[in-house]
């Protein structure tokens, strides 16, 4: 090209530092915003800690706990029918950080620790599944429209209106109760029912993105549908997908806990917060602490994910909630 600049620009860039050659991407701006949001940051740190705890459960347990299925009958008070633990607060002591289980005397700390593993593994895997299905269905419905959109939209409505818990109980209780199999089935069931939340968001965003002129522009340079979806739409969908994935994780954690509570979760002896809670119901008169501990674990986890997710949404789309 031999022609030089024809009309010098008299406008200056709106960015502050003219020397910086690297532009500030929207992601970096969002991160700067998120960093100033204390509550969301606390939620995020808690989430990170939880993930770390679940990942390092065996290591942490070796230092602070006892083997998961080791019975400590000496911790159970024989004078009270052999049910509640010795001492106050469910037998919390420097040796048993969260006390012990009534009757068996198993270490509650290790149960919670490994329970976090179960909970997060199933919730994360189900969320990944939900995101994948949600993107495929949502993008197809929003981008191609027409009868495909009608079909997928009705299908999503149908799933959201489904009596899910009943279906899950019926399905899981008739399948073989091995640990790996149950885990897989729970992931498929939870993911298979939570994807429409992602699907709807993605469809809505795709519908509005599709009308933007940069999509027309991509067409006018000869880009095909695949390139438009991958290069033009997905980068713009990443933020809402990230936000809603973060927000369905706690829902999925609660779902897993509910199924375990109802006795159709991962089979014993695999620890699970939901099953601890249902177990605690029998003993709440003798040992209320036993109920509080897994309850708090679920509560803190769900709250942390929600606070982080809300903060993420505000940071990525400041117009949404203000």
């Amino acid at each position: 090209m031999t022609v030089g600049p024809v009309t010098p620009s008299t406008e200056t860039p709106s960015a502050d530092e003219p020397a910086a050659v690297e532009g500030r991407s929207l992601g970096r701006i969002a991160w700067a915003r998120l960093r100033r949001d204390r509550v969301a940051l606390d939620g995020g740190i808690t989430v990170l800690l939880l993930i770390l705890v679940a990942a390092l459960a065996p290591l942490i347990n070796r230092v602070f706990g006892h083997p998961v299925n080791e019975y400590h009958q000496d911790r159970i008070d024989p004078n009270l029918g052999g049910i509640p633990p010795v001492g106050t607060w469910g037998g919390i002591s420097s040796e048993f950080l969260l006390g012990v289980q009534p009757v068996t005397g198993r270490d509650l700390f290790s149960q919670i620790l490994y329970g976090a593993q179960t909970s997060l593994l199933i919730a994360f895997a189900a969320t990944v599944l939900a995101v994948v299905i949600g993107i495929v269905v949502g993008v197809s419905a929003g981008f191609f429209g027409g009868w495909l959109d009608s079909l997928f939209s009705r299908f999503m409505d149908l799933i959201l209106a489904f009596p899910l818990i009943l279906f899950a109980i019926a399905l899981i209780s008739v399948l073989p109760p091995t640990r790996a199999f149950r885990t897989a089935v729970m992931i498929v069931v939870i993911g298979g029912f939570s994807w429409p939340y992602i699907g709807r968001i993605v469809r809505g965003q795709t519908l509005s993105l599709r009308e933007r002129e940069f999509v027309e522009s991509a067409r006018s340079i000869g880009a095909g549908n695949v390139r438009i979806i991958v290069k033009e739409l997905l980068p713009n969908l990443a933020a809402p997908i990230l936000v809603y994935a973060t927000l369905i994780i706690p829902t999925n954690i609660l779902f897993e806990a509910a199924l375990s509570f109802l006795g159709v979760g991962v089979p014993p002896p695999t620890p699970s917060w939901g099953r601890l809670l249902s177990d605690a119901v029998q003993y709440y008169e003798y040992d209320p602490t036993y109920m509080v501990v897994p309850g708090m674990a679920i509560f803190v986890t769900v709250l942390a994910f929600n606070l982080f997710g809300d903060g993420l949404r505000d940071a990525l789309d400041p117009k949404a909630n203000r």
Binding site: T7, L151, F214, S220
Partner: protein, 369 residues
Amino acid sequence: MSTHTSPDRTTARPGTDELLRVTGLEKHFPITRGAFIRRTVGAVRAVDGVDLTVATGETLGLVGESGCGKSTTGRLISRLLRPTGGSIVFDGRDITDLSVRRMRPLRREIQMIFQDPYSSLNPRHTVGTIVGAPLRVQDIPTPHGVKRAVQELLELVGLSPEHYNRYPHEFSGGQRQRIGIARALALRPKLIVADEPVSALDVSIQAQVVNLLDDLQRELGLTYVFIAHDLSVVKHICDRVAVMYLGKVVEVAPRDALYATPLHPYTLALLSAVPVPDPDRRDRAQRERILLTGDVPSPVDPPSGCRFRTRCWKARERCERETPALRELAGGHLVACHFPVEDAERTPRGRIAAHLAAADVAPATTTPA
């Protein structure tokens, strides 16, 4: 807008080669009901029989009110839409029904500049990615790499090559529009369809962008179809102007002929609405402004005969019965009207009379949507 002098614009038609010929172009968008079993219950006749020619190297202005089908015409010409009728011949080649795949190599020759500088640039891409995309998609060989090519394009449109790694949100509207222009130029097209390229910009910046387009045209030998919604913007850049109303071209003329002797009542009304900068003359212009009463009729069910008749102060019985054909009244000056504007109507007295007559057109005659 600043006074902009271009030497040989008055003689119109600089080149004689015809680059684009559009004949009887139609785009009817179906209106459907029902989710699964779709019934077509009608059509939006967005473009309904448009005839145009564009010569190599010239700029054709396409002007009309909002919703008259300008953008749709532009999108048909650049084949972002498939026509439902008529034909488009580009550079001697019929591109009316080319498939997306067959159209692909031709995309290099026809490019678009879009109206909205905010929605036309992907906010997640850097300027380098945006301007380089045409080169990548079309596999254009770049001897010094895509980055160099993009930086040269940025310089060409008056932006700093340093802006390569920046994101669109870091730029002003005018700069964004320059980025859009650089992207359109990347493929070295013959024809650029500019869809209201300055409508979204501040008045002070509009002139800069129009001048840039004008300079680029001279240096690169470009041909433009320049879409605008009022006649003031196109005055400085166009060689010829086509006026559209409700999906049809109602008047085409060399620029000076159109501004000096408009033949269609609608053009006269549009011209009387052009803002007058001189405060001493503003008052008089106000009295002579021909106000168009009522709304533009719906393109779903346009009026019979002449589509402008529901708002025309000259309408007679024949206008309802007979659709006026686009016919040539003077050299290169075409109009679709049974009773074209006469010289007397262009005098101040005639304009005031038209002003009063137009105010009397009953708005009830417009067809409800």
